[in-house]
Every structure is written in structure tokens, then in C-alpha cells.
Subunit: 251 residues, 2 copies
């Protein structure tokens, strides 16, 4: 039954959505059935794969209006499907706060669908609020995309503390799937320093494949397709393909 992976980092703009979509697309291309769940009210994952955001999505599932099967949409990539999000999900922050078991809404929805998928990838918003807690509680592995920047280091400690908290209180089965370095610019000293420091501490928990900065990755969402359908020859595509293989092998 399916492996559930959440892409999380409260630091904004680090490549959570880009990583979940493109690793998912290459793993689907390799023949695995992959479900993307957009648990960020911004809906960037949903638009990255051209989902119809007027149809019911993951919000309707966690509020009990629809089943997971009813909201799942196809994408342009074979074996890649999506449960989309919309702004209603932002309301869940307030709606769920006072509910019993507010951290388990997504887990209940995911557990009911797990058997049908090889991989379930959850995208989360840039915060450590209720939506990200739901993602960490529903997942077996957490993958942390991070930029090679100073603020990224600052945020990592806080994120790890939150993960430990979730392991203790809501999901003892959660483990660290790995850290991805994204938007890497080899010309800057800062990038090298950040990579050295993080790799020194996390050792083999850091994915060997580093994703370089590549504008083609930021162009693909405007065509509503993952990079494997926008430009397969660019460095962004080749790196995410290699990274997808690493995820298949080790997570």
C-alpha cells in the first residue's frame, strides 16, 4: 500500500510545490501510481498540473462532503493524479482549531485511499499551523526542500523541533525522508557554506542530487504541466529525474 510523503518547510518559497510536483511526475512516468494532495490554500500544486479548481477538492473531503475518490482528477501525465485545493482550505485553519482530533482530518482521508496508490505526495503551506500539522500527521516520511540561504538554516531548527513534537504526540511512525537542496547557484560562497553545514550535521539524510536554479522550472507552471512535459532536456528536468530515482531507491 502507498507510501505517504509530505513536503514541508515553514520558510516560504523554498521549492516545496516544485519538488512535490516534479518528483511525482517522474515517478509516475516510471510506472508508479502517484496521488498529489494540495494541502496549501494557495493552490500552486493544483495549478501546476492544470486541475479544475471549481470541482470539489481536498477541503470537501476533510469536511465530509465528498469522498477522496470523488475529488481525484487526472493530470496530463499518465499515472499522476491530483486532489486539488482552493481558498476554502484557508478557512480550515479556523474551522479545525476547536475540533476534536483537529490534527487527524487529513490522515483519516489519506488512510481511506492509501491502498490504491504507490505514492501519495502532500504539499503544505509555508507555516507550522494546523494544515502543516495535518500533513505531518498523515505522512510516513517528511521531505524538507531548502534553499542554500541563511534564513533557511534558521528555520531548520524550528522545523525539526516541530517534527519531533509530531512524532511524540500525533504520529510516531513519521521519519525524516531527507533534505533537498533547491535553487542552488554554484557561483555563490553562501550556498557552499550552507550545504557544508547541513550535510555535516545530517550526513546521509541529505539527498545527493542538488537541484540547480533553472528558469524552465518556474516557467512550466504557467503551461500547467510538470517539467517532464514542458522541457525534458533542461538541467531542471534532468536533476528532478535523478532526484526522483533517489526517492524511489531510498525513501
Amino acid at each position: 500500500s502507498g507510501k505517504v510523503i509530505v513536503f514541508a518547510n515553514q520558510k516560504g518559497g523554498v521549492g516545496k510545490t516544485t519538488s512535490a510536483v516534479n518528483i511525482g511526475a517522474f515517478i509516475a512516468e516510471a510506472g508508479k501510481r502517484v496521488l498529489l494532495i494540495d494541502f496549501d490554500p494557495q493552490g500552486n500544486m493544483s495549478s501546476s498540473v492544470g486541475s479544475d479548481r471549481n470541482k470539489p477538492g481536498i477541503y470537501e473531503v476533510i469536511t465530509g462532503k465528498n469522498s477522496m475518490e470523488e475529488v481525484i482528477q487526472e493530470t496530463t501525465v499518465r499515472n499522476l493524479y491530483v486532489a486539488s485545493s482552493d481558498i476554502n482550505l484557508a478557512g480550515a485553519n479556523i474551522e479545525l482549531i476547536s475540533a476534536e482530533k483537529r490534527e487527524y482530518f487529513l490522515k483519516d482521508a489519506v488512510d481511506s485511499a492509501k491502498a490504491d496508490w504507490d505514492y501519495i505526495f502532500i504539499d503544505s503551506p509555508p507555516s507550522l499551523g494546523i494544515l502543516t500539522l495535518n500533513g505531518l500527521t498523515a505522512a510516513q516520511e517528511v521531505i524538507i526542500p531548502m534553499q542554500c540561504e541563511y534564513f533557511a538554516l534558521e528555520g531548520l531548527t524550528l522545523l525539526l523541533k516541530t517534527i519531533q513534537q509530531v512524532q511524540k504526540t500525533f504520529n510516531s511512525g513519521l521519519s525524516l525522508g531527507g533534505i533537498i537542496f533547491t535553487m542552488y547557484d554554484s557561483r555563490t560562497r553562501l550556498a557552499h557554506e550552507v550545504i557544508q553545514e547541513v550535510t555535516g550535521y545530517f550526513k546521509d539524510k541529505v539527498f545527493r542530487t542538488v537541484i540547480p536554479r533553472n528558469v524552465r522550472l518556474s516557467e512550466a507552471p504557467s503551461h500547467a504541466v510538470p517539467i517532464n512535459q514542458y522541457d525534458t532536456t533542461c538541467i531542471g528536468a534532468k536533476s528532478y529525474q535523478k532526484l526522483a530515482q533517489e526517492v524511489l531507491d531510498r525513501v
Copy 2:
């Protein structure tokens, strides 16, 4: 009495903190008294100016434990001061939800201190939750940093709707101070397209000064100083200096 400006955008990593800190630093250098308020639990603004995060900060002010004067710290830049944040502020998301007038906590704190400052700059987190609503309610102007990327366009509509909502319900005096293009890479077609589209719609609400991508801007925070004390000759410093002049002239 002081002009209160909030830097807001729910899209993550677009340069909210970098813009507030560096525009603030150049305006302080020009002789104005500037107070930075870090209303993001990540605390990136606080660490950008080397504030002591073990001292009480803005969280203690909005919860009534300290007055604003008691928490304000000096920075390395003359005329630039900061009310720092820490992770306790993240708790405010849940604590404030059920409080009466939960959108006005920051406004009450800011109004008590306004007379002592020429400018008050508020940094907000990458979300449209309670903390950002407080920032929009406390401010007279909102400045929107945005990257020249596809996801940035998608988020803009939602942000403008939220601003209109705040103008109607909490703060009729709030106006759009302007849109800043950040991390601009002139070599990419996508960047030109986004700038054309946004400028076509917002006309003179877009600041003429565009901030280019410049690694020195991301190095400065690791030295706990703004760019005007890290490297005054780099393109990042020159652009923010020009932008600070534009803010002085028109906001």
C-alpha cells in the same frame, strides 16, 4: 506622526523581510526615525538586524506583558530600531482566534507608539491568517513585494481581495502603497512577461525601481546587518537605496 507601512504577501519567499529591513535602513540613514516590527514568528527581520531574541518582543506587547517602549531595541544603524518576534508569536494564531477584536491587537500597540516615529515598518508571515490581518489593520499603507514568477501572479488576486476585505471591515484608511518587483533576472522572458502584465494593470502603483537578484542581499542577514552596512557598492544596495528614496517621495 509616523507613517505605518505593512509588507505583505502570502506567497512565500518573495522578499518581504529583505525589503522592509533594507528600505528601513536607508530611510533611517537619511535621518528619519524608523521602527521595524517583526510580526512573523520565523523572526527573520529580528535576526537581520541582530536583535536579542531572548528579550521580550512584540508578542509580549500584544499580550499586555510589556509596553512597546520596553521592548524596542537599537540596531547597528542609527535611527533604526526593532521590536523583535519569536516563536511565541506563532501561538498567537490560536490564542487570538477566539478573542474579541482579534484583528486589532497590533493596531492598539502601534497607535500607542506612532507619535515617536517617522516610519513604522511591519513584516508579516507568508499567510493570510490572523497575524497578517493584524498587520493590514494596523497600517495606513501596504507594500507588496513580488517575484516576477507565475505563482506570484496567481497569489496577487487573492491578496488584493483580502486587502479590500480589510478596508471594508477593519481599516478603511488602508491604501495600496505600491508593488515592488524583487529578485528580478533580466535574462528570463517570464520575468518580462510578469512585469508587463502587472504594470499594465497597476500602472503607477508599481514602484519604478526594480530590485535585481543579488547574492549580497542574502549574505547580509548572516552578518546581522542590513545591506547598507554589509556592502554599499553592490547592485542590491544601490537598488534598495533608490527604492527607499521612492518610498520617501511617494508613500
